[in-house]
């Protein structure tokens, strides 16, 4: 073993006797997405059996649509959680962005796109401030963004009330640029008689981009290290603070995108919208295999977590159950998924 330094650069492919051969299945189960995939299959089969309308292609299209409205936010939240931080303000930040775009372009009678750009600046600023405060003060992001959550929620309601005397933003469908913005943010197309919203496509594209960033780029390495061991990461020169601020801004960016989608789909935004969604995002990411403590997870897993949520959300409707039970049902299913996830990961780790 001591002479290996002089050996030619091609190491001999010796199998180490310490390593038992891992079966393909064990390898598959060791991936962060494994539990979420298993959970998604169980829930799909469940609703396939109990809710006959669930079996139609068009129903599945609407499952995918609901999934995408959550999934657009779950993706950056998953990255943020892998980077070791939380964002509890993400749910209301979506509404803030939509209200900002809507009120700005309506009150100043500008082109709808002007409002869209102002909202983008606001969303990125919110993300930056969240990240900056967390990085500069070292206060847990759970507390910082809890504060931001209340600030934004108050602003959403109070400012809209002050400006419009309403609990919703005015209808902006008559504004110039509205129809083009609707095509961009809230379009749809038909394949084989099934109507599919473009947000589904956007969602899948963003998941693919996030996965590529995480696994194939330097930034991805830095995100994992920032969440896994920030001290160690800093010691080898990773700009941990900048990475975290960037992740909060990515959440801001997607909050803006989701907000624009909602705004241009419905022409108007309710001020109280979005509260509670921040938990959905976090739960979906955790179901998808992201560790609460950071440093581990996957964007694909989080996307499947969002799909589980979308399936339950629509499945209950298709099964004809009283929607009052929805949240309880969701809670139980998610608990089940998490338990399954943990169980499978333990099994896989034991097998490995």
């Amino acid at each position: 073993m001591t002479a290996t330094a002089e050996a030619p650069v091609t190491p001999p492919p010796i199998r180490d006797e310490r390593m038992g051969r891992k079966s393909g299945l064990a390898r598959l189960l060791a991936r962060p997405e494994a539990g979420a995939v298993a959970g998604a299959i169980v829930i799909y089969v469940f609703f396939f059996i109990v809710a006959p309308p669930f079996r139609n292609a068009s129903s599945f299209s609407s499952v995918l649509y609901v999934t995408s409205t959550y999934g657009l936010m779950v993706t950056p939240i998953a990255l943020l959680m892998i980077g070791g931080e939380f964002d509890l303000s993400a749910g209301v930040a979506v509404t803030s962005s939509a209200l900002c775009a809507s009120l700005f372009s309506y009150e100043f009678t500008t082109n709808a796109w002007v409002g869209v750009l102002v909202a983008l600046a606001l969303s990125l600023l919110i993300g930056f401030l969240n990240g900056w405060i967390v990085v500069k003060t070292g206060i847990p992001s759970f507390l910082v963004t809890l504060g931001t959550f209340f600030v934004l929620q108050g602003l959403n309601i109070a400012l809209t009330q002050t400006i419009t005397n309403q609990v919703a933003s005015p209808d902006i469908s008559t504004l110039q640029g509205f129809s083009s913005a609707r095509v961009v943010f809230s379009g749809s197309f038909t394949i084989g008689g099934v109507n599919i919203r473009t947000s589904v496509i956007y969602w899948l594209v963003f998941v693919a981009i996030a996965t590529w960033i995480l696994l194939r780029t330097r930034i991805g390495n830095w995100i994992f290290s920032a969440g896994g061991s920030p001290v160690s990461a800093r010691a080898v020169g990773v700009p941990v603070g900048r990475v975290k601020i960037g992740l909060f801004m990515a959440v801001g960016l997607m909050a803006w995108f989701t907000g624009m989608h909602t705004l241009f789909l419905f022409n108007t935004i309710q001020t109280s919208q979005g509260v509670g969604n921040e938990f959905v995002y976090i739960i979906a990411a955790v179901v998808g295999g992201c560790l609460l403590t950071g440093g581990y997870g996957s964007a694909v897993g989080a996307a499947i977590g969002a799909l589980i949520f979308g399936m339950v959300n629509q499945g209950i409707v298709y099964a004809g159950w009283n929607p009052d039970w929805f949240q309880t049902f969701v809670g139980l299913l998610l608990l089940g998924a998490i338990l399954l996830n943990t169980f499978i990961r333990r099994r896989a780790e034991a097998a490995a």
Partner: protein, 327 residues
């Protein structure tokens, strides 16, 4: 930065043979007598507290200088000075003969001085190859050149004699010794000329410590200077060429290997002078304490460390180096 800067050098005597053949202080010095790192009469004060005073130490290419001391002896302060976290308040710090004043560990790193800390600076959940290249990723277009990085990581570890099962496994699944070795080979790969190892064997079992010691010898064989900080003379003696003993911020002695035996080193580390002093104190207490004191004094004399320890704390480090106290 992307290519290994330290190709294995062609002197692969068996580790054991090398230790016995080590005669003079410059035997392994490839720099023509100019040490890679040299501290002369360096000291550090934090306000009124004198953390370190009058420390002289050097390490050349292909040499191992051990810094021994108990907790609070000033080892951490010494590391921080060499690693660039602090500047010495007094004395000089030279790298390859040029006086330097580092403002950050980055600057020290640029001069080829890399520190592997006790807590290793690895991210446990990340794969070995990602840890290896963390902060120094090899880019290709917008992404990373992953096949190259995996291959390089495997080869570099193999060059250090670490035959890893799978570079894709999380580094947290490796043993403590293996993790130390990955951290060491990473520093070597990214151009380190001098390795500062902060208590690399402290948290390890006997066998794992042996593994790490083997890699210290490997690093020395590859022409690196190693500063090995430890409180264990049994780990230091087999691999070290020079030994600096610290106690309460002062040098207890600075020895070439030829000037000191393992037992003497152990005795000094156990605090011969302090034991003697303690035995006197106990004796003056009278009664049972005095008996223990007498027994202790006898032990100290038997080990033959009392006189040396006194001389060590009186004489300056530089005079010790002249070899006046050769047994």
């Amino acid at each position: 930065m992307t290519t290994p800067q330290n190709t294995p050098v062609g002197k692969h005597a068996a580790p054991g043979a090398r230790q016995t053949s080590q005669e003079g202080p410059q035997a392994g010095n490839g720099q023509g007598g100019v040490p890679l790192v040299r501290l002369v009469n360096a000291g550090k004060r934090y306000g009124a507290v004198i953390a370190l005073s009058d420390i002289t130490l050097e390490v050349g290419a292909g040499e191992v200088t051990c810094v021994l001391g108990d907790n609070g002896a000033g080892k951490s302060t010494l590391i921080k000075i060499i690693a660039g976290l602090h500047q010495p308040s007094t004395g000089t710090y030279e790298v390859e003969g040029t006086p330097v004043a580092f403002n950050s560990p980055r600057e020290a790193l640029e001069h080829g001085i890399a520190t592997v800390y006790q807590d290793l600076a690895v991210v446990p959940l990340m794969p070995v190859w990602r840890n290896f290249f963390l902060g120094n990723e090899v880019r290709k277009g917008l992404g990373m050149n992953i096949p190259f990085m995996k291959k390089t990581c495997r080869e570099e570890l193999l060059a250090m004699g670490i035959d890893l099962r799978d570079v894709d496994q999380a580094i947290g699944t490796l043993s403590g010794g293996e993790r130390q070795c990955v951290a060491i080979s990473r520093a070597v790969h990214f151009g380190a000329k001098v390795l500062i190892l902060d208590e690399p064997t402290a948290a390890l079992g006997v066998k794992q410590s042996g593994v790490v010691l083997k890699y210290i010898i490997q690093a020395r064989e590859r022409g690196l200077g190693v500063i090995f900080i430890t409180h264990n003379p049994h780990h230091a003696y087999p691999v070290g060429d020079r030994f600096l003993l610290l106690n309460r911020g002062k040098s207890l002695g600075y020895f070439e290997k030829s000037q000191i035996t393992r037992d003497e080193l152990t005795g000094l580390m156990a605090g011969g002078a302090e034991l003697e002093q303690l035995s006197h104190e106990l004796e003056s207490e009278g009664g049972a304490a005095a008996d223990i004191g007498h027994a202790m004094e006898a032990d100290v004399e038997e080990l033959g460390i009392a006189h040396q320890a006194d001389a060590g704390s009186d004489a300056s480090a530089t005079t010790r180096q002249e070899g006046s106290s050769h047994p």
